[in-house]
């Protein structure tokens, strides 16, 4: 069981990440609000507890790697990177502006702390497999953490990567499935049925852990379990709520990529205060 004090601290970090996400979009921009909010708790645990990082040295060889296969949720990663000092604070108000570090999708050359150019869905898990192989070849004990979207599972390449990760037995790879049930135009189950998901990943040879993706204690416990797994990649199937933490955006597909009115923006910040 996770330490309650640690859980409380990480819950605060998750709330800060959500606030940063909301501030990045504000009441003047459009952005990927829903899918960024749904992964905030996972991102908080990874960046503020689990991952081995040196924020002052983003290319430190022995760092753990984090990438978003669902690259559009970059706001959650930017939120942490800004707080940790990888990215200057003022970038919080430059989302997708010309010359900004907070590009519409992650850019590893423009933005310190970004590990891959993701955003074209279905590719990030394969990149993560390559990183896991590269680190293993180099004799590094660094781990690779990757978040995959549930809508993204429509992409056939995800399943190519699923096969390859199990085939190469990359036990330094831990994936999260952001299982929020919604994709760009609606409900995943109605768009393209991908169920049963935990069973599919298990059938592909992964060690599967099912959790509530907003329960910090469960995320911590899952990562502890993952760390002990050998010769298999780990998939943490995290049940989440798209838009989590901002009541009017929760479970609303329209906030996959949306805008907030000034009233909504104020309300969102108040709910996350």
């Amino acid at each position: 069981m996770a330490d309650p004090k640690l859980v409380a601290e990480l819950e605060e970090k998750a709330k800060m990440i959500r606030r940063n996400i909301v501030e990045m979009i504000g009441d003047t921009r459009r952005g990927h609000l829903g899918g960024s909010l749904s992964i905030a708790d996972i991102v908080a645990v990874l960046y503020y507890h689990t991952m081995r990082l040196r924020p002052g040295d983003p290319s430190w060889e022995d760092r753990d790697r984090f990438l978003l296969s669902k690259g559009h949720a970059a706001l959650a990663q930017y939120a942490a990177l800004i707080d940790l000092g990888y990215i200057p604070k003022e970038e919080l108000y430059k989302l997708k502006d010309l010359g900004s570090m907070t590009q519409g999708h992650p850019d590893m050359r423009k933005t310190p702390g970004i590990e891959a150019g993701t955003g074209s869905l279905g590719q990030g898990l394969s990149v993560a497999v390559g990183m896991a192989l590269g680190l293993r070849l180099a004799g590094k004990d660094s781990k690779v953490y990757v978040i995959v979207g549930d809508g993204e599972l429509n992409e056939g390449q995800i399943w190519e990567a699923a096969m390859a990760a199990a085939h190469y037995e990359v036990d330094n790879l831990v994936a999260f499935l952001d299982y929020n049930g919604l994709q760009a135009t609606g409900c995943c189950a109605e768009t393209m049925r991908t169920e049963p998901l935990p069973e599919k990943w298990a059938a592909f040879g992964w060690h599967v852990i099912n959790i509530d993706g907003h329960d910090i204690g469960q995320i911590l416990d899952a990562l502890d379990e993952a760390a002990a797994v050998r010769e298999k990649p780990v998939m943490i199937v995290a049940k989440t709520v798209k838009g989590k933490g901002v009541s009017f955006a929760e479970n609303v597909a329209g906030f996959h990529h949306g805008e907030m009115t000034t009233e909504q923006y104020k309300q969102a910040l108040a709910e996350l205060a």
Partner: protein, 312 residues
């Protein structure tokens, strides 16, 4: 004339490279026997990944390996490398400028009997319009070996177009291979033939035929399509006043277009384009296909005469 399949030269070069550099890794999508990367896999099994018939996955895995400091050579048939895995190449390799080398096997019509599904006639067009990509088309076994070493030493993504075909040793053994540099193979003042890849031998034969008719063709072999050697082209255009390009590719958006783009700005001259004329081909013996679909020696000679007719 002594000859060797370019794929064999590629396979041998990879083995040598693997011995010299432990960071070199090779990935193949279950065609390692065809592309000859099996030779590397047999010697360095720990650094060889047959990812199965999954080119898109392979391309992204290579990106991940490169992001961790490895020098991946990704090998498959060229049409798959640029089309099936084209988004992966663009987004995860060209965009972040990762150090991945695409060994694009079976370029052009060289997998001739397998037909249009396996011919690769639009690959140069696709990859050369990806920013950050360097595009190389080899024409000779010795050059292939040199090119493998040079592109491995270069830090950045490279598309290296290879061939299944057995090709004569056309270039002098000591001919250097320098990225971005064309090779002046023959002096000439009446027109310039610019060629990339396997049609080099046919181009030289065409130059011989033209010489017999008193027409002196300058011959430039252009192994780097991008960045193209503007200097050698502009000088040739100014000195000869007419240019013919010869390539085993659709005449749209390949070598000919790259040459035209360079010359249009600095030294516009009449041009003719020898290549596949925007058509799908068919199964058949390789040389017969080249002859049938626009790359015969006669085609090159005819294009030379046509361009001379337009020269002022």
């Amino acid at each position: 004339m002594k000859a060797k399949a370019l794929r064999d030269a590629f396979g041998e070069a990879l083995v040598e490279l693997g011995r010299e550099n432990e960071d070199v890794v090779v990935l193949d999508a279950d065609v390692a026997g065809s592309t000859r990367t099996k030779m590397f896999g047999d010697v360095y099994p720990d650094r060889f990944f047959n990812v199965g018939i999954a080119e898109a996955n392979m391309m992204n895995i290579a990106a991940g390996l490169a992001a961790c400091g490895k020098i991946p050579f990704v090998s498959t048939f060229s049409f798959l490398a640029c089309l099936r895995a084209g988004d992966q190449l663009r987004t995860s390799i060209a965009y972040p400028r990762l150090n991945v080398k695409v060994g694009a096997g079976y370029g052009g019509l060289s997998d001739s009997f397998d037909g249009p599904t396996h011919h690769s006639l639009c690959d140069i067009a696709v990859v050369r319009s990806m920013p950050n990509m360097t595009v190389v088309v080899v024409s000779d076994p010795n050059q292939t070996k040199k090119a493998v070493k040079v592109v491995a030493a270069y830090d950045g993504p490279v598309y290296l177009r290879l061939s299944r075909a057995e090709v004569p040793y056309v270039l002098p053994e000591d001919a250097p291979f320098v990225l971005g540099k064309g090779n002046l193979l023959r002096e000439g003042s009446d027109l310039t033939l610019v060629v990339a890849g396997v049609p080099l031998a046919r181009t030289l034969e065409a130059a011989d035929r033209l010489a017999k008719e008193g027409l002196q063709a300058r011959v430039i072999e252009m192994p780097t399509i991008k960045p193209i050697d503007r200097e050698i082209l502009v000088q040739a255009a100014r000195e000869t006043g007419a240019v013919v390009t010869i390539e085993e590719h659709n005449i749209m958006a390949g070598l000919g277009s790259a040459v035209a783009e360079a010359l249009a700005q600095e030294a516009p001259v009449p041009m003719e384009f020898v290549g596949i004329k925007d058509t799908f081909c068919e199964s058949g013996p390789y040389d017969a296909l080249l002859d049938r679909y626009g790359l015969s020696v006669d085609d090159i000679v005819a294009a030379a005469k046509a361009v001379l007719g337009r020269k002022s």
